[in-house]
Assembly symmetry: none
Homo-oligomer: 494 residues x 2
Amino acid sequence: MTAFADLMAFQRETEALAQIAGRLGWDQETVMPAGAAHQRGEEMGAIEGVLHARRTDPRVGDWLGTAEAPDAAGQRALDLIARAYRRNACIPARLAAETARVTSVAQGIWAEARGKDDVAHFLPTLEHVVALRREAGQALAAGGFGGGDVYDALLDDYEPGATGAGIAAVFGRMRPRLVALRAALLGARHAPVPLAHRFGKDGQMALARDLAGAFGYDWSRGRLDLAVHPFSSGSGNDVRITTRVSESDPFNCFYSTVHEVGHATYEQGIDQAYLLTPLGAGVSMGVHESQSRIYENQLGRSRAFTGWLFGRMRETFGDFGVADAEAFYGTVNRVQPGYIRTEADEVHYNLHIMMRFDLERQLMSGALAVADLEEAWNSRFAADFGVAVDRPAHGMLQDVHWSVGLFGYFPTYALGNVYAGCLHKALRAAVPDLDAALARGDAAPATGWLNDCLQRHGGLYAPAEVVERACGFAPDEGPLLDYLETKFRAIYRL
Amino acid sequence: MTAFADLMAFQRETEALAQIAGRLGWDQETVMPAGAAHQRGEEMGAIEGVLHARRTDPRVGDWLGTAEAPDAAGQRALDLIARAYRRNACIPARLAAETARVTSVAQGIWAEARGKDDVAHFLPTLEHVVALRREAGQALAAGGFGGGDVYDALLDDYEPGATGAGIAAVFGRMRPRLVALRAALLGARHAPVPLAHRFGKDGQMALARDLAGAFGYDWSRGRLDLAVHPFSSGSGNDVRITTRVSESDPFNCFYSTVHEVGHATYEQGIDQAYLLTPLGAGVSMGVHESQSRIYENQLGRSRAFTGWLFGRMRETFGDFGVADAEAFYGTVNRVQPGYIRTEADEVHYNLHIMMRFDLERQLMSGALAVADLEEAWNSRFAADFGVAVDRPAHGMLQDVHWSVGLFGYFPTYALGNVYAGCLHKALRAAVPDLDAALARGDAAPATGWLNDCLQRHGGLYAPAEVVERACGFAPDEGPLLDYLETKFRAIYRL
């Protein structure tokens, strides 16, 4: 028991320091003065150095060798610590330091390249990042992670237990139905009207706060600020969200807020007994995204909830040119091919992910050279979306992920959608009168069910396991596709 | 040279981590959700633990034993590191971590107690904090700091070289002249008119920003937020200030802002070569306060500058019942016994400090029990100010300092006033036409002189030494008392 208690006390401090590093990230994106950037780089380097030293501290290995867990939760905590320790041990210190240094610079170079639509400015850096991540993947694969596969070894960090082959199989079954649905919708005679109005910033922020409240965000343990790219940050009792405001597109503000509230209430809703332990955070990126997505889409973009939102928007902004709640439901759910993943509708979103997944797997296997990425991206986009990429900022430069070394992260977004589809099916069965509450702007019956069945467990169960426990069936893509076809064929009167 | 370079590289990371801890403090006072308080306590405990481990790392002792400085600045850095190393070595890690944890939580409890005027709610926590600080003082005294005196050992952390006996002697010389001046002013036939008007919050904040700019605050490396108790936070290129707003008392907002700008521009103005080194911060609390006080009082409350402020307030708020700039100068400098130290006029301010100094010395020596503090406070206040404390929030609950363990800190405020008096005398001799600039709302000739003569040196010289270098004479209380008597007797037409 002493080794277990010592390890847990050490781990608790590490988790607290990781929370601090996360909050520095929040600060940097929301309130930091611009002139502090260089100094902040040194500060982040210092705390990341402390965290790396703790995560590879030989005492952790010693404790793991003798610690005995008092219960199942304790055993799960030991397993998670052991897994992270073994992963970190595979990465040579030189590679970890070089990756930290190169990716921190790469993010700035990516932003510059994106700003001036200059792929060539980014390519040498991306080549360096890809080489470093392949090296890390190879080291992890050699250590037994990902069943010896480089891409799977990286993916395993974001979605433990998932494999590239498994995701490819899911995507293979999803693609034909999504492509058929997309074709039917784009060919339909009826189409919802787009918004054509200006929406004041103060009104948007006030309504965003109401939306966060409707979905159960606990303001006593969080706050809402503006950021260039919305995100949620922190675990336990300090979980902050951000959004952005565009006067022509209030849905960007509203649904970014609801999305981040999904992430944040997952963190806020974890059993307080797990605070600052390996169980005290969402279990995987895919499960996290299932929460943000079901809040945003299956609940937030439902006919019932958008009916309430329509009324609130009319109260806030007056007549904005949409006749009634039924028309508004169509406007919210308008399907249109677009360049940008983060602005994609529910039907197109997963096609963006499938494309990134195929491209990044090829980059990691070496089948695709970085020099050929732009051509591969553009030809694939034209084939999948029927539109030619007009500029690199709308193409391969649109997302920050690869610049900071996140290979294996993108598919977790689609996995989150798949999980959200399953959870929504189970939720509707468990709470048959949910629409009546949603129509009053009250998502509590849904968020209460999600908290009880999934969120409160934190890291206690493996990703697919916690979803299966919540749903009562093994998750697959069927419920998501059924939901999309039913919902969008009705909106488009097919 | 290798030991010196290694030590400086290690110290640089430690300084960066200390900046992070400071920024967490800023976060806690400005933007942190209330429900995060306990978790934040653990986070602060974790990073303070890391800092304590680094500051007592045996390698630092080894490096100090062999390091050779390349120049005088390097030698001063070595001396400061050695002094801090010897101090920290006196404090057991357990005590450092417990103090960090307890004081972080204590701050919230103090705020609650102050909010509901409930001394009993705060007493157990204050007892805990006092016990921890006495234990630290005893450990430091046993290690030879403060000449073996518990209070002096703590004071030495904020004002190296100062002693309780020395400060008591200065206060002993100041008190009769202050008491006589106070009696004369309160008995004068003429008295300035008080403000009797409401001043909108937005207008106050806009003017506070203008004031910060007038005193040279660099917005690209800082920001202004609201806090219950205004403070300045951070060093180098991220130095943030806070203020507060009362609709009936705009001077609270304005002069808190100018005060914090004094602290902040000291930090912002330090030679960039000293960034994240032991020389990269203000050298002591007393010298720090000399900057905030000369900005706030000798400059900000001067006849010339208040003339400009009167015009700006008329532009912002319209006619607010003060006839002209001359009357406004009196209103700004109105002398009145009041409960709150931070709102005290220049004449009463040091009497507040003398009282806290005596009480906290007794708390640290054990001569006064925490349980008896309220009675001791109230009877002393009645004796010194001729007014009975009406509620604890106006008495012993008014300041955050003791809740966060700052014993030995209060006298540095009065020392800052003494230094400010000396610096002001030298400044006026060096910049004879200063009033012409101040009358235009331009403090640059003064802040430029202060930066050149004092601020840019950071920690390069000892506190009394840097003030003497700037002034050209050894500092004492004479110039401050001369200034106060001349200024206030004129305002009160004596």
